[in-house]
């Protein structure tokens, strides 16, 4: 009796995907990913992660911990020794004091921390100011948390720093938070203490929470990274999100953290305990090792990025792609406006013509239009070869 008696209506998958997720645009890099993946001999300047493998001493510490049987859950907030080390490292770098028990949460990468920050702090319809161009996840994360992302533009003439006038214009009675992500992906811009000071009055006046993604903080090439939390009286209203992915070449480990006001971090911990439960113990053990003994290797990698940065940015300017000096992260963000092409057209033609992959600036928000994100987290030889190929490509465009 296997035959069904009644006809079953066709399965309608669309009805089972939330309309909010349905409406969310897919990431703009997907198309390029598919194009490059099929191409032989392409040079990719499109990778948002270090080209170094995690330093051996960190991998070795993790392997030993596995051999010793460290395979269990940890406390929701993360291993106490890791939280202590995170707070201690923050103290030595910035002088800021955080209580490892009340003000620190270990997350699975900064990505989770961003998601938690918005979910734990926003009510339906609350607005978050998001400066663009920026990393692709902030706007969708705000949406998923029921908030509304209010995008403000940063401009090349301001070296892609966020200006208080732009924030001022975007403020409404519903604004609850301001997102900062400096050093910035995709522009490589930084905000130093004076730049941040200019925002402080607005933040206090409008009682905003500052969500500060500082995952590239250690990769600052001119002076020291300054967190908004270091400004007078701003520590309690700043949520610092940090990690190990970029500084210690640990992207695949998925390990990050949040530091901030006990109530905000407590609220994030609540969501975290019902969703992620805890960050993987192997990654936490590795992060302890990275903080205890990883500084020298980190500085070595940073030094190499800095050499490449000089080489590459000067090279871009030499071949006619006007590029402001990026002072952090590992991206150059040259303007391609002189070619008359959109950034997507430029990136696609460059890839097909010369097999160099870079990400169109428009992927990172409309103010990224007219720019190209080039990651210099790739070998010097490849950077030099890529510059040669881009130069040939530009010559072929026969510009006026």
């Amino acid at each position: 009796m296997s035959q069904r008696m009644k006809e079953v209506p066709a399965w309608n998958a669309t009805a089972h995907v939330s309309s909010q997720v349905n409406e969310m645009p897919p990431s703009g890099i997907r198309k390029f990913f598919d194009l490059v993946s099929e191409m032989e001999g392409a040079i990719s300047l499109g990778v948002g992660e270090p080209d170094f493998v995690t330093p051996w001493h960190i991998r070795e510490a993790c392997i030993y911990s596995l051999e010793s049987g460290f395979t269990s859950y940890t406390s929701n907030k993360g291993m106490p020794e890791l939280r202590e080390m995170i707070c201690q490292s923050m103290r030595s770098k910035t002088g800021l004091e955080y209580d490892p028990d009340e003000q620190a949460l270990v997350t699975t990468g900064v990505s989770e921390a961003v998601d938690l920050a918005f979910r734990a702090t926003l009510n339906q319809g609350d607005e978050v100011i998001v400066p663009e161009p920026c990393y692709v996840a902030y706007v969708p994360d705000v949406m998923l948390a029921g908030g509304r992302a209010v995008v403000v533009q940063t401009r090349p003439e301001d070296r892609f720093k966020l200006r208080p006038e732009s924030v001022q214009k975007a403020l409404t009675a519903k604004t609850r938070a301001l997102l900062l992500s400096y050093p910035n992906n995709p522009t490589g811009a930084i905000m130093n203490r004076e730049d941040l000071e200019e925002l402080a009055d607005l933040v206090v006046e409008h009682d905003l929470l500052v969500v500060s993604d500082e995952v590239y903080g250690d990769l600052t090439y001119s002076g020291c990274h300054c967190s908004f939390a270091q400004l007078e009286g701003m520590a309690e209203r700043t949520l610092i999100l940090g990690g190990f992915s970029k500084s210690h070449a640990m992207t695949g480990w998925r390990i990050g953290y949040a530091l901030g006001d006990p109530q905000v971090v407590g609220a994030m911990t609540k969501v975290h305990q019902y969703t992620m439960l805890c960050a993987p113990i192997m990654a936490q053990v590795a992060a302890v090792e990275a903080l205890q003994r990883g500084e020298e290797e980190m500085l070595k990698m940073k030094h190499e990025y800095n050499l490449r940065r000089r080489l590459f940015v000067a090279g871009l300017n030499r071949i006619g792609l006007n590029c402001f000096e990026p002072e952090g992260a590992f991206y150059a963000f040259p303007s391609i406006q002189a070619t008359g092409l959109t950034s997507e057209e430029f990136a696609e033609a460059l890839l097909k013509d010369q097999k160099v992959a870079a990400v169109p600036g428009s992927v990172f928000g409309s103010s990224g239009e007219g720019f190209l994100r080039c990651s210099y987290a790739t070998s010097r030889e490849e950077l030099i070869e890529a510059l040669d190929r881009i130069e040939i490509f530009l010559d072929g465009l026969s510009l006026p």
């Binding site: 499109g46 493998v53 000089r310 080489l311 992959a357 990400v359």
Partner: protein, 159 residues
């Protein structure tokens, strides 16, 4: 640390123009500084690290540890410098511990190296004993891992 030296220590083929681009300096400035480093003897020699094993040239290497009698005026220097003159000798180092000098010797065969030690080193005045360790396999030389497996690939494009 001197950044030019650091770059050259990794790649002796780096040209002044290439180094200048990495440091954001002018080529002539870099070239002048390299010349000074060469003239003052800070830069001793430009070399190439060769995997002779792979090249199919079978050199035999040995580390020889020596006990040496200290001399009143010259300490270990006289005997060490004497040993260093042999072209078979690749390195001579004063070391702490059970022995005094550590000498690396290169030869065409184990027999050649063994005889060199017996006939040329052991008989020197002041050399009290020798202990020869033949090198069976090199895993890392001058900071370069010779057994490295290929690096895992990254995704070609990520945000």
């Amino acid at each position: 640390m001197n950044e030019i030296l650091q770059i050259l220590s990794e790649n002796s083929k780096a040209t002044p123009a290439e180094i200048a681009a990495l440091l954001g300096q002018r080529e002539e400035v870099v070239a002048r500084e390299i010349k000074e480093l060469e003239d003052s003897g800070v830069i001793r020699k430009y070399m190439t690290l060769i995997d002779w094993e792979k090249a199919g040239e079978g050199y035999v290497y040995a580390v020889i540890e020596l006990k040496v009698a200290l001399q009143r005026n010259t300490g270990y220097d006289a005997v060490a410098e004497r040993i260093a003159r042999f072209s078979e000798v690749q390195s001579v180092r004063l070391i702490s511990g059970d022995h005094d000098l550590s000498v690396t010797v290169r030869g065409k065969s184990m027999r050649e190296v063994a005889f060199f030690v017996a006939e040329r080193i052991a008989i020197l005045e002041g050399v009290q004993s020798t202990c020869t360790h033949f090198i069976l396999k090199s895993y890392k030389e001058h900071g370069v891992n010779l057994t490295d497996r290929p690096k895992p690939k990254r995704l070609v494009i990520t945000a």
